[in-house]
């Protein structure tokens, strides 16, 4: 019974990780860059959502579940715009500059985003107005229950992930995206506008991260500016576990990490759950250096 409850909670948290991991994995796919700023874009999603929901709740007098829809749409647009801007300003000029320079630049963007958030919203914990996150839930069996919010989370993330998967696998643009992640030069020769595809990746990845930011903040109710780093690192680990650059892998890795973490905190110790997650990452990478679903990369000769 308790196990079933843990699995429900684990899958919910796992779908958050999966949504954020998709942003890391897509950017890595096309640029071979760990986008350290992604966690902070996700955190900004939570903060912008807070502003939006507070605004609407102020106008209407109280928080209501329908408010999530316009707020999520607005946050999606703003974070996607920021993502494109970050790529244009901080990453594009560095495409030819080796591996180290873009990493430093990404860390710099992360510092900027986090510092601005801390100065604008303060270092204290912030809470969403009540009434926006749907209340109530269903009893499945005995003491096992699933809340309406959890159902909403699962439905939203399933729809987003299925949509993304179909987009990348079935459309022309998606095919171009996969081509760019294999080889920039050859893609260009095939008539693909590589810069536009990369810009598109920076719309989708951060956009999903922004949605996840609002949903995570609604689910937990409160958060602070460290959300970007703590959650971002976990999501990145999920992306690596699934094999970075691999979109279904990111979804799988997120679910796996969410389950492991929930079970570890339920059956071993909540204090050590993060350590357990990191140790699993390390062990998996020792034995499968490119992740669970990652392809074996031939060594350069």
């Amino acid at each position: 019974m308790q196990l079933l409850q843990q699995i429900i909670n684990g899958v919910t948290i796992g779908s958050f990780y999966a949504l954020v991991a998709l942003g890391y994995t897509m950017v890595y796919g096309v640029l071979k860059l760990i986008n350290f700023a992604h966690g902070d874009l996700f955190m900004w999603g939570a903060y912008l959502g807070l502003t939006g929901v507070s605004l609407l709740a102020g106008l209407a007098g109280a928080g209501q579940p329908w408010m999530a829809v316009p707020v999520i749409t607005g946050v999606l647009a703003l974070i996607a715009l920021t993502g494109v801007l970050v790529e244009r300003v901080a990453y594009r000029p560095l495409r030819a500059a080796g591996r180290l320079a873009p990493i430093i630049s990404a860390l710099g963007v992360a510092f900027i985003l986090e510092s601005i958030a801390r100065n604008v919203y303060g270092a204290r914990w912030r809470t969403y107005p009540t009434g926006v996150a749907p209340a109530g839930g269903f009893v499945l069996a005995g003491s096992v229950r699933i809340s309406t919010m959890q159902i909403a989370v699962l439905v939203i993330s399933f729809l987003l992930m299925a949509g993304l998967y179909l987009f990348v696998q079935r459309t022309r643009v998606g095919t171009a995206m996969r081509a760019v992640s294999l080889d920039h030069t050859v893609s260009r020769l095939m008539g693909i506008d590589v810069d536009r595809i990369i810009a598109l990746v920076f719309v989708i990845g951060p956009g999903l991260g922004g949605i996840a930011g609002v949903v995570v903040a609604l689910y937990y109710g409160s958060f602070d500016f460290t959300l970007g780093w703590s959650f971002g690192l976990k999501a990145f680990i999920a992306a690596i576990l699934g094999g970075i650059g691999n979109i279904p892998g990111a979804m799988l890795g997120g679910m796996f990490l969410g389950l492991v973490e929930t079970l570890a905190s339920g059956y071993i110790s909540p204090q050590w759950k993060d350590v357990i997650a990191y140790v699993i990452l390390i062990i998996i990478l020792i034995f499968r250096p490119t992740g669970i679903l990652g392809e074996r990369v031939a060594a350069k000769v």
Partner: protein
Amino acid sequence: MNLSWLSRFRERPWLWQSGLILFAILLPLPLGDYYRTVAWRTVLYIMLGLSLNLIVGYAGLFQLGHAAFYALGAYTAAILNLQLGIPLFWTFPASILVAALFGFLITRPILHLRGDYLAIVTIAFGEVVRLALVNNIFGITGGANGLSGIARPRLLGLEFRQPIYHYYLVLFFLLITIFAMRRLENSRLGRAWLYVREDETAAEAMGINTTQVKLLAFVLGSGWAGLAGALYAARITVISPDLARFMESVVMFCIVVLGGTGSIPGVFIGALGMVTLPELFRPLKDWRDAWLGVTMVVMMIARPEGLWPSRRVQLELQESEAPHG
């Protein structure tokens, strides 16, 4: 313009080298205690930068969890001092050994990982160390509050209390470090590192044991960071798991890369930019990280090879192309 005086300096490196050392020795004399502490911090971070430079700069391995070894060194010194009453100076060798040993144990299984995977595993290790310290592992790390009451070091009856003593203490170790690094740079091992960084397959074909060489970079770099940690514990006498924060690792990483990867003067410039300048702009405290971030982005766009790159890295970058060739 007559630049003959410049070439004279080039021909007699001891001239400007002794000038710099003299400057470093005289520097704290006119300063107050606050600025002496800033100078102490700067020198300490130059040491940390040089230790990381062995790993990132020479051997070309991404290490984004270097602060963990700094923290391990500080905790070793503190625990030996608090639990066993060993005088602080005598704990320094133990700090180096413990950090080096952890460097060996942790990196041995992950050396085969490629660049970015290595980076993420080192981040994970850094976090594991920090969380283990926070969770008070074995009941000796003091949990989230850390350890306090470390006895100040004594030498020949002199207690190291004033900031200026500690400045000279780290300066002494820094000079040893620089001497050692310069010797290493041109040694057989130093050349092997560069070779591994440039082309691992070719290095292996030439008979270099790449695993051993990479491992040595990690072990030496980690041990040296451990020494820096012990020096920190000696000065501050209160240590906390915050020493192993990811932010610290990032600062160290930036010191190496901003100044110019693989270059000793570059590490000096990096430490001035990442540690000294932010301390001098105290009024901007709230916005410090944002400015640091802006500097990092602008610097990388303007000079991706760093401010004072080693010649080899400069040549390498001019030849390299886009990631997908």
